[in-house]
Amino acid sequence: MSPNEMSPETMTLFSPQLAARFDALVLKYPLKRSALIPMLLYAQDEIGYLSDAVVAEVAERIGITELEVRNVASYYSMLRFKPVGKYNVQVCTNIVCMLRGAYGVFESFQEELGIGHKGVTSDGVFSLEEVECIGACCWAPAIQVNYEFHDELTAGHVPGIVAGYRGRALAEGTPTHA
């Protein structure tokens, strides 16, 4: 089943596990709406981005309008309305990482992947982003690939990192949201 099709039995876009998690999530807070940001992030993790259908279902679950969901989602830099690669490489270039050579690491990723800032490789496996501080300053320069940290990098580490994720993508089959 493609993630963008509703399953008629459950009327949800999400996997049964995630749907159950969302059912519990809204009950955790004094107000349901507090579940909005985590719900959007977890939905994005599963579907790949905030599609129209995701926005609609989240709005329904929280009990607010789609416009309100979009209004909030557009504020947060990790939330996105367009797909990215299966492995989203986020290179921190903020001051400390910059001092320790982050732009060299970023350039190396650009060369290795053949894409620039916010680019996606044609096979959908990788995307690249220059991001703000990710809280790994003492182990700079650092990157995150999806949620995985890699720290104390040099440009020389880049081919190995790319090869590692390419291998994982091959082992797992075609990317989910190419």
């Binding site: 955790k28 807070y29 004094p30 107000l31 709406r33 507090s34 579940a35 909005l36 940001i37 985590p38 959007l40 992030l41 929280i62 209004n71 909030v72 504020y75 947060y76 830099s77 990790m78 939330l79 270039t93 903020n94 001051i95 400390v96 910059m98 001092l99 320790r100 732009y103 970023f106 350039e107 800032h117 220059e130 703000e132 501080c133 990710i134 809280g135 790994a136 300053c137 003492c138 182990w139 700079a140 995150q144 949620y147 995985e148 940290f149 720290d151 104390e152």
Partner: protein, 436 residues
């Protein structure tokens, strides 16, 4: 995996369980965990608040507000539910201490949250982590589940009649959410835009109820204060600055890392002895003492500088979040100022015009300047713009962008002038990339 470092001058209080497997609840209990919470439950709120006041513990988020005093502001008679909100949205460039706390000692955060809840009479606490810290959120979630299973959280904590619940929460990428009122907005499922103060959160906070908001490091320190006693904790630091601080020493040093040092520890010693000096045999050019929003200090200004809120304040900067960023002589300060401003321009929430427009114009001016198209008047203009942002916004992000800029221009004016008249930047080669 973030590397742990050590130095003989460290006084390990908050970090004493790091690397010892304390993320597992049984190990945490073996190491004396949850005794402080039990003691506080027996002693009651007035005792807790007096201990916290006597400890001279000051907020580790940046402002340095005395923690005990903050807790005492929560009105006892207010009928609305009260809340504790732990700020783990650590996003200040140069700061990565909460990262290690969540990784190595999540139960200290839980225990501190319980104690804060007991002090103010709250039944619910929230621990908010920045969205990028997903693996740390999972560690926190596991720790919270374990604490529930042991009966340390829930309707009857430690077998008492007292209720306390904890909910962990993730952000989704926003520096501004580290500001306390924007943090509450975010937790309420809204855009992270600051609220006007007063009313202060202690009176009208989360869901309209009185709320105490503390930085994750402050909260993780609380059980240790109770355990060792306020007097002993306070004596570790300098006058009016109790205890230790997790200093994140980063940048051009030989041994960057998070070091726990007593408040008031000399900054020069911190750089040259604790962190091993400037790497590659270069010399020190400047230090940002407390995260990217604090004004830069020159080598001659750190000679006798003790790192506590009062002394750094007197030196014209701020202790801030404890992020000590060390800059060597091969660094272009204009590029550094530009990268700092690119960050604030990206993170300004756009609510207050002086900040939204000011950061944007400053970034434009600095970009043009660094690219060699600046004119002499730009230097004064940059200063004028920054000065006009100060104190004119709802939250401190405007000041946080303006203060370091003013510092760079005032202390490195010559370097700005060296970029005039199309002269190529003597250091940088990544001008075009420094624009997000």
């Amino acid at each position: 995996m973030p590397r742990l470092v050590s130095h003989p001058d460290e006084v390990k209080i908050v970090t004493r369980r790091f690397g010892m497997g304390a993320e597992k609840i049984d190990r945490y209990l073996e190491l004396g965990g949850y005794e402080a919470a039990k003691k506080c439950l027996a002693q009651g709120p007035d005792w807790i608040i007096n201990e916290m006041k006597a400890s001279n513990l000051r907020g580790r988020g940046g402002a340095g507000f005395p923690t005990g005093l903050k807790w005492s502001f929560v009105p006892k008679q207010n009928p609305k539910p009260k809340y504790v909100l732990v700020n783990g949205d650590e996003s200040e460039p140069g700061t990565c201490k909460d990262h290690l706390i969540f990784l190595h000692d999540p139960h200290a955060v839980i225990e501190g949250t319980i104690i804060a809840g007991l002090a103010i009479g709250a039944k619910m606490g929230f621990i908010y982590l920045r969205g990028e810290y997903r693996h740390l959120l999972e560690i926190m979630e596991m720790a919270v589940a374990d604490a529930y299973a042991k009966g340390f959280l829930g309707k009857n904590i430690f077998g008492s009649e007292t209720e306390f619940q904890i909910v962990t929460q993730t952000g989704a990428g926003a520096y501004e959410v580290g500001e306390e009122s924007a943090l509450m907005e975010s937790l309420e499922g809204k855009r992270g835009i600051p609220r006007i103060k007063p009313p202060f959160p202690a009176v009208v906070g989360l869901y309209g109820g009185p709320t105490v908001i503390n930085n994750a490091e402050t909260i993780a320190t609380v059980p240790h204060v109770i355990e060792m006693g306020a007097a002993a904790y306070s004596a570790t630091g300098s006058p009016r600055n109790g205890g230790t601080r997790l200093f994140c020493i980063s940048g051009h040093v030989a041994r960057p890392g998070v070091y726990e040092l007593p408040m008031g520890y000399n900054l020069k010693k911190m750089i040259y002895e604790v962190a091993g000096g400037i790497r590659g045999g270069r010399t020190l050019k400047a230090v940002v003492p407390g995260g990217s929003s604090t004004p830069v200090l020159l080598p001659e200004e750190i000679e006798n500088l003790g790192m506590d809120f009062d002394q750094v304040g007197k030196a014209g900067s701020m202790l801030g979040s404890g992020g000590v960023v060390v800059i060597d002589d091969q660094t272009c300060i204009v590029e550094f100022a530009l990268r700092t401003m690119s960050f604030y321009q990206h993170e300004s929430c756009g609510w207050c015009i002086p900040c939204r427009e000011g950061t944007d114009w400053l970034k434009k001016s600095l970009t043009r300047f660094h690219a060699g198209f600046g004119v002499a008047k730009d230097i004064d203009n940059i200063q004028y713009l920054a000065e006009n942002m100060m104190g004119r916004t709802f939250c401190p992000l405007g000041d946080a962008a303006a203060m370091p800029t003013l510092g760079f221009v005032k202390k490195f004016r010559k370097e700005f002038e060296d970029h005039l008249n199309g002269k190529p930047c003597p250091f940088a080669k990544h001008v075009e990339l420094a624009v997000i």
